[in-house]
């Protein structure tokens, strides 16, 4: 540990450099976004070692990056960003993670805290019933044989065509909820079997539904564009991923990459970093399957959001139009994408891995929905159960420094069993209720594992991202009800 303190070079108040000579084999230096106060935790967690390991991967450009919510992962740290040249670089399933396109979306409403609060118990019960959640949850949707291929190809569009949501939801979803170049044949039969019964399920772990209230607005004009008008306004979050389908795709291709590394003579310091050239058959097949899994996750969130809308309108006794339930945005935080970035004054095609990191594209970027193009891409940073969440916007600085990326959440700080030793699910429930947060959870032990104390304070994380200029604060929300998977 003392070793790290001397190795990390302070660049400025928000940036720490891991020099390239820290470990022989690093192709680029590492760069960690953090405040001085957060460093000790990051070092104790051995996350910098993982940042250094990622710097070994062929074709990596500029830096192996770590966002301020960095914590120990497997292979890549959570909060890791790495971009590899498409021409001679690699793609690594470990740089995406097992929950492909785990992500979050937020809807605005026309209702206020004062209107919703009296019905909050009823609302949370209705949400809990409407959205299947918990370990091994099965969905309300029965797919026809072969229909899973449609889900993989069309993502959100499949859901909307089936009647889950509205066409305009697609406009405010990253990638329009439908990544192109998907061949379902590259997704194994096992993955499809696991995914088929789980479309429209929340899952477990840190996945949740949340009723939040706008608590602070930092940028009035940008907030207004998003449909955030006032403090006290109610918003609704959905956080989940690609379920067993995504996990199986990751498993299948990590195995494939193990073989590919021998074939292409690639060596990595940790087998979980297994990879193959982006342009190799193995790399291409993985990217195709991963995009399919990403589309599955978007379809999943789209269906869930539809049920959240229905339940909300029913309990509140308002029509959908009157309720103003519009999707502000949907972001993914576990993904690899081929993007154009400027490297040494010329455009380069890169495979950008974001594992527990969010895209943060600047104003004017063609991939930002027309509605938001003048202000930059909306970014959603959910905190933990008891604390704030943030809505940010992408910046030019992020484009220059982090391949248009920023943090994704609070970042874990305490292990699950450490939390369970300290607290019971009931303790957490009472604590949250005493702070005016209604909770429904699939399991009490799951609740203890996800206690707010397990996480870094999201405010510190966001302040670093804002301070470093890789995103800007737009608004803050506070939870009043949470459904935990």
């Amino acid at each position: 540990m003392p070793e790290w303190s001397s190795k990390l070079q302070k660049v400025d108040d928000f940036r720490w450099r891991i020099p390239k000579d820290y470990k022989s084999g690093m192709r680029v230096p590492g760069l960690i976004y953090a405040s001085e106060g957060m460093l000790q935790q990051i070092i104790a967690d051995q996350a910098p070692e993982q940042v250094a390991n990622v710097a070994f991967l062929p074709g990596i450009v500029r830096y192996s990056l770590a966002m301020p919510d960095i914590h120990w992962g497997y292979g890549f740290a959570i909060g890791g960003v790495a971009a590899m040249r498409v021409s001679d670089g690699v793609v690594s399933p470990g740089g995406v993670g097992f929950d492909i396109n785990c992500g979050v979306r937020i809807m605005r409403t026309n209702l206020t805290r004062d209107e919703v609060k009296p019905k909050i118990k009823e609302l949370i019960d209705a949400l809990f019933l409407a959205v299947p959640s918990g370990v091994g949850s099965k969905g309300r949707i029965k797919l026809h044989p072969g229909e899973i291929n449609e889900v993989l190809r069309k993502g959100s569009r499949w859901a909307v065509e089936k009647g889950y949501g509205r066409p305009e939801d697609i406009d405010t979803t990253e990638e329009n909820g439908e990544m192109k170049d998907v061949s379902p044949d590259y997704v194994s039969a096992r993955a499809k079997e696991r995914g088929t019964p789980q479309v429209g399920t929340l899952g477990s772990g840190n996945h949740f539904l949340e009723v939040g209230v706008i608590d602070e607005i930092y940028e009035k004009d940008i907030a207004k564009t998003m449909g955030i008008d006032d403090i006290g306004q109610i918003v609704l979050y959905v956080h989940c991923g690609s379920r067993g389908l995504g996990h199986q795709v990751a498993d299948d291709y990590i195995k494939e990459m193990m073989r590919a590394m021998q074939k292409y003579g690639i060596q990595v310091p940790d087998r979980q970093l297994a990879c193959a050239p982006v342009n190799s058959p193995e790399g291409k097949h993985y990217l195709s399957a991963m995009r399919g899994a990403a589309n599955y996750a978007w379809a999943n969130r789209q269906c869930i959001m539809h049920w959240v809308r229905e339940a909300f309108c029913r309990v509140m006794g308002v029509g959908e139009k009157e309720a103003g339930l519009e999707l502000i945005y949907d972001v993914t935080h576990n993904i690899a994408k081929i993007e154009e970035h400027e490297i040494d004054d010329r455009k380069e095609s890169l495979c950008v891995h974001r594992k527990g990191a969010t895209r943060a594209f600047p104003p004017g970027h063609a991939d930002v929905p027309a509605k938001y193009r003048s202000m930059g891409q909306p970014i959603l940073i959910p905190g933990d159960m008891g604390r704030m969440s943030y809505i940010l916007a992408g910046t030019e600085q992020a484009m220059r420094e982090t391949f248009g990326s920023t943090c994704h959440g609070a970042g874990r700080m305490q292990s699950r069993s450490a939390m369970k030793k300290r607290l019971s699910g009931r303790d957490v429930l009472h604590d949250l209720e005493s702070r005016g947060i209604a909770v429904r959870a699939g399991s009490m032990s799951g609740l203890a594992e996800e206690a707010p104390q397990a996480y870094k304070d999201v405010e510190m994380v966001v302040d670093v991202a804002h301070g470093a200029g890789i995103s800007r604060k737009v608004a803050r929300t506070r939870p009043i009800a949470v459904v935990k998977g």
Partner: protein
Amino acid sequence: MHVMKKYELIEHTADIGLKARGVTLAEAFANAALGMFSLVAELKNVCEKESRHVEVKADDIEGLLFEWLNSLLYYFDVDMLLFRRFDIMDFEDTRLAATCYGEQYDSTRHSLRMGVKSATYHQLEVNKEMNTVRVIFDV
């Protein structure tokens, strides 16, 4: 008599893992599976009502452990099967065949604990001398 612990849990910030041991390496593999299912659910009320024959292949012994555990997670996802006993019959470096016993999850009698997404290769270790294995899960 000294009773050997079949497995113990390993702590990591965002994830959880285990170290399992056995008199033979095959037994260590079986105990790793037992440890994994004890993370997924409380196993004391799980009966041996159903069984599945599971065969897995891999390029090496580490890959075999990865494949073995993830294959069992597949049965949980698809058939909601909770296994509590694993008879490993054939065991080589690159393949194993086992019969796994347990029953389908029943919400009235069983309590689930956490969703295990996958075994990972991170710090995965198979020690043939000590008959121990180590694996970290993504949960």
